[in-house]
Amino acid sequence: MAEVVVQHSRAARTTRARKGGSLHNALRRKSTVAFFLTLPLILLIALLVLYPALYSVHLSTLNKSMQKFVGFGNFTFLFKRETFWMVVKQSCIFAITAVIFKALIGFIVAHFVHNIPAKGQRKWRGMLLVPWVIPPAMSTLAWLWLFDPSYSAFNYTLSFFGIGPIPWLGDAAWARFSVILVNVWYGAPFFMIMYLAALKSVPDQLYEAAAIDGANWWQRIWYVTLPMMRNIIAITTLFSLIVTFANFDIVRILTSGGPLDQTQIFATYAFRVGIESSDIPLGASVSLFMVPILAVAAIFILRDVSKRGNEA
């Protein structure tokens, strides 16, 4: 997208420059004006994003009282802790499973919405996007109440089918399932909306051509829909991977990492260590472990976004 922008403005400048005269003054002032227009943005990014990010690297090399340099001491300490490896494992399980299910459900639901007559689509889309609109901290409270050990409305309903009370948040395996379920509930509508927009942009002629060639529904999806949507699927999935990996609200409210830190992920563990136990350097070290994964995802997104910009 950025490249397109640059090309536009370059073209604009050459045409304007040819007109000369009073425009020339405006052009000369342009870079000064541009500088002042972007100055608040640059300051914000430099002071409140870039600086803290680098500062957190510095913090991670200090001891708990932040007076002594310990080098990689915090990292070697974490490597020796079993809890930390559990956090790494759980973060990966949580993020990957949740993103796969969000993407799948989003894809399927987008198809169903796309299938029905156009005049009803708005209503369904509106209903299905509600989980995305409610602040996650609020909706997770509703889930917490649905999962309540003694008054669980789910268990009440399931008891009619002879399924015994499920310890939704009490048992490690079920707690892992529950946090993923809530995350999928919250994130799937986003995929649905993105895929729906992408589906609408696939030209009908392609499906007609496929139908004439005798393609069945599966072949239509595999050879027409998926290739046409490849880029948007990649961007959406990578975005979601970043956000799911860095998720805090849902796990914090639902389980606070429990039982016995079994559902702790990077963000909640960093909060527990860095803020609640006030070992800021150790917390910074924990959160820095997210960087490699986020960086890889960011690089791929950037590639896909600029590709998408060039297509448009």
Partner: protein, 303 residues
């Protein structure tokens, strides 16, 4: 070759058309069936919030059907809306969100204009940088930011920690990159002829921005505003880290920490509080759904 193909397709055509329309009817029925299932899945938690919020504590702890309200009451809402504490949370949330929206717009509209229309040294890099900043999650920055603000407070003596207004500095790190990014997109889609004509008529850059770009890109502006508001309203991690006393809490933190305390969970009140907290974004969404979705798909929001 083509004649052969036509011959082959000829006799089968009627049958195929019949089966296709029958297929389509079934596909439609299945679509509705699954859409109903997914809608139930999506709407169960918010509906259950509403159901619980209308119950008394006695009814909640009774072993009756949890999906039905036998004695509806508004007592939970009345109690919350007359409690100074809850109104304080609401007020803090509203103040933070509104100021952050204004700050975000003041920063991101001029920046997006400059990045979309004025090529200057490093503008392409800065545009990419804005996008990358948008990908930096809050859970990566909360610890260093906490330490940074603690240090600033120590040096200057200005109380920053445990004050709701510290959030005014922090939330823009979440809202500004995204809003700038989608505004660049909207501004870049405006035909160059429009601003060229304005420049020829003697308009300054600022006049071009206020008289042409802002009115023309108004839908994008509304989408960005909605985004900034919902993000600030829903933010949970930063206020949890930066505020500790009850009178400085914003809604999400206030509800989760003051209403859930000890062993006694007053679920009726928690659910009414959560529903009231969810109301402003839901109301905006109900009225401005199309802008909401436009913003979502324009910038590929977080999900």
């Amino acid at each position: 070759m083509s004649t052969v193909a036509i011959d082959k397709a000829g006799p089968r055509r009627n049958v195929k058309y019949g089966s296709m329309s029958r297929d389509r009817a079934w596909a439609l029925r299945w679509s509705y069936f699954f859409l109903v299932l997914f809608a139930i899945f999506s709407l169960t938690p918010p509906l259950y919030m509403l159901i619980t919020s209308l119950k008394t504590s006695a009814e909640i702890s009774a072993a009756t059907n949890p999906w039905w309200v036998f004695h509806p009451t508004l007592a939970n809402y009345v109690e919350l809306l007359t409690s100074n504490q809850f109104l304080r949370f609401f007020w803090n949330s509203a103040m933070v969100s509104i100021v952050v929206v204004i700050v975000t717009m003041v920063i991101s509209i001029p920046a997006a204009f400059a990045l979309a229309r004025m090529k200057f040294w490093g503008s392409a890099t800065l545009a990419t940088g804005v996008f990358l900043t948008y990908l930096v999650p809050d859970s990566l920055l909360f610890i260093p930011l906490f330490k940074v603000f603690a240090t600033v407070q120590e040096w200057t003596g200005i109380p920053l920690l445990n004050r709701w207004y510290v959030l005014l500095f922090i939330y823009p790190t979440l809202t500004v990159p995204f809003c700038t990014w989608i505004m660049i997109g909207y501004f870049a889609s405006i035909p160059k002829e429009l601003d060229e004509a304005a420049i020829i008529d003697g308009a300054s850059w600022l006049q071009t921005l206020t008289r042409i770009f802002i009115p023309v890109a108004l839908p994008g502006l509304i989408a960005a505003t909605i985004f900034a508001f919902t993000v600030s309203w829903a933010q949970f991690l930063y206020p949890l880290v930066f505020t500790t006393s009850v009178d400085q809490f914003v809604l999400p933190v206030g509800i989760t920490t003051t209403l859930i305390k000890g062993d006694v969970f007053n679920w009726g009140q928690i659910m009414s509080g959560a529903l009231l907290g969810a109301a402003p974004p839901l109301i905006i969404y109900a009225f401005l759904m199309d802008y909401y979705i436009a913003g979502l798909t324009a910038g590929a929001t977080k999900g």
